[in-house]
Symmetry: C2
Subunit: 203 residues, 2 copies
């Protein structure tokens, strides 16, 4: 298809598509003359991925580029690649070099999970646990046990669905599944609260 | 205590405290002269609540005022009051009047939960389900069953911990517990993925 059709079908403005081409997020089309190129379904799919990362998951363009680079070249260790791709997702915390995460480490040890401070979600957990503590409702062992068990069930399902066909689809699924299902989970939790409260509180 | 001590102990700048006083988020101190007042532990506690709502949960000052108003005057129906307080939390979606939420309704019916379109989390769920669908990984029945069950366990624990002593503490607990535990849950899910992936992928 021509660029005009790519704009129409993707609903992404021409200037934005040109910007993604310049930044290397979108692969070039097949040149048909010095000034024209044609694009395929893979360009449409890629634009959908870029839009999901930037507009829905909230990544800055540079971080979306990191994720796309890892999807295009998932070289080496898949576990490492997945870690780097998930690490490109928000929230972005400034973590001083060599800092320790005592709350996160204690929580992960209690639920019997891997503690690796290089993983950005460890800093996120530490910050989140600090915040609940400061607000006077710290994580306690009972809540940690319930949360740990429930979230692990859910995470086991997620991991069981990771496509095994190729490393690039595994990375893409993991990044999108992590980022885009977080709002689903938050909304479902609020609605479960509402449902439970309506049973308990309405006459 | 004097204002200077309130500034020191709360670590909230003087200008910010004065702003919260003007906007009614912080209750006035007890006047000791025309220009001086003294403050108590309740002011310190309130500043902690305001800080948690604005800086951690991300509420604009006006929405934090709505929550504090509901905590100060939890009149009438507690279920309605809780709904309005949780409705003041981000994300803020523009929802046209009379719009329907077909994905959210179908999902809630499948897991046997209350569907009430006035509740803002319904619009959040609809938007989140639209996003996963657009990204090519729509919610299916199997995922919905696993997520619904896991999240309900977690929500049951949350609701079991709501303080029953008074309506204002119930509202405060519910708002903070909803907002501040969402990042904890997101981080724990990412770390459960990492733990499961490390067992599956590392030799």
């Amino acid at each position: 298809m021509r660029m005009s059709e790519l704009v129409r079908r993707s609903r992404v403005p021409l200037a934005t598509i040109k910007y993604y081409l310049r930044e290397g997020l979108l692969m070039p089309g097949e040149a048909t003359s010095a000034t024209q190129a044609v694009y395929g379904e893979e360009h449409l799919r890629r634009l959908g991925l870029i839009r999901a990362l930037i507009e829905v998951a909230g990544l800055p363009v540079q971080k979306a580029g990191v994720v796309i680079g890892l999807i295009e070249h998932p070289d080496g260790d898949l576990f490492e690649t997945l870690g780097r791709a998930i690490g490109a997702l928000p929230p972005y915390l400034e973590v001083p070099e060599g800092v320790d995460f005592p709350r996160a480490r204690a929580a992960l040890e209690k639920i019997g999970q891997l503690y690796d401070p290089r993983f950005t979600a460890v800093a996120q957990l530490e910050r989140a646990l600090e915040a609940v503590e400061a607000a006077g409702m710290p994580m306690d062992d009972e809540r940690l046990a319930v949360y740990g068990r429930s979230i692990r069930q859910l995470a086991e399902f997620d991991v069981s669905r990771v496509p095994r066909s190729s490393a690039d689809t595994a990375v893409e699924y993991s990044v999108l599944g992590t980022a885009l299902y977080e709002p689903v989970i938050a909304a479902l939790r609020r609605l479960a609260h509402q449902d439970l409260a309506s049973r308990a509180l309405t006459p």
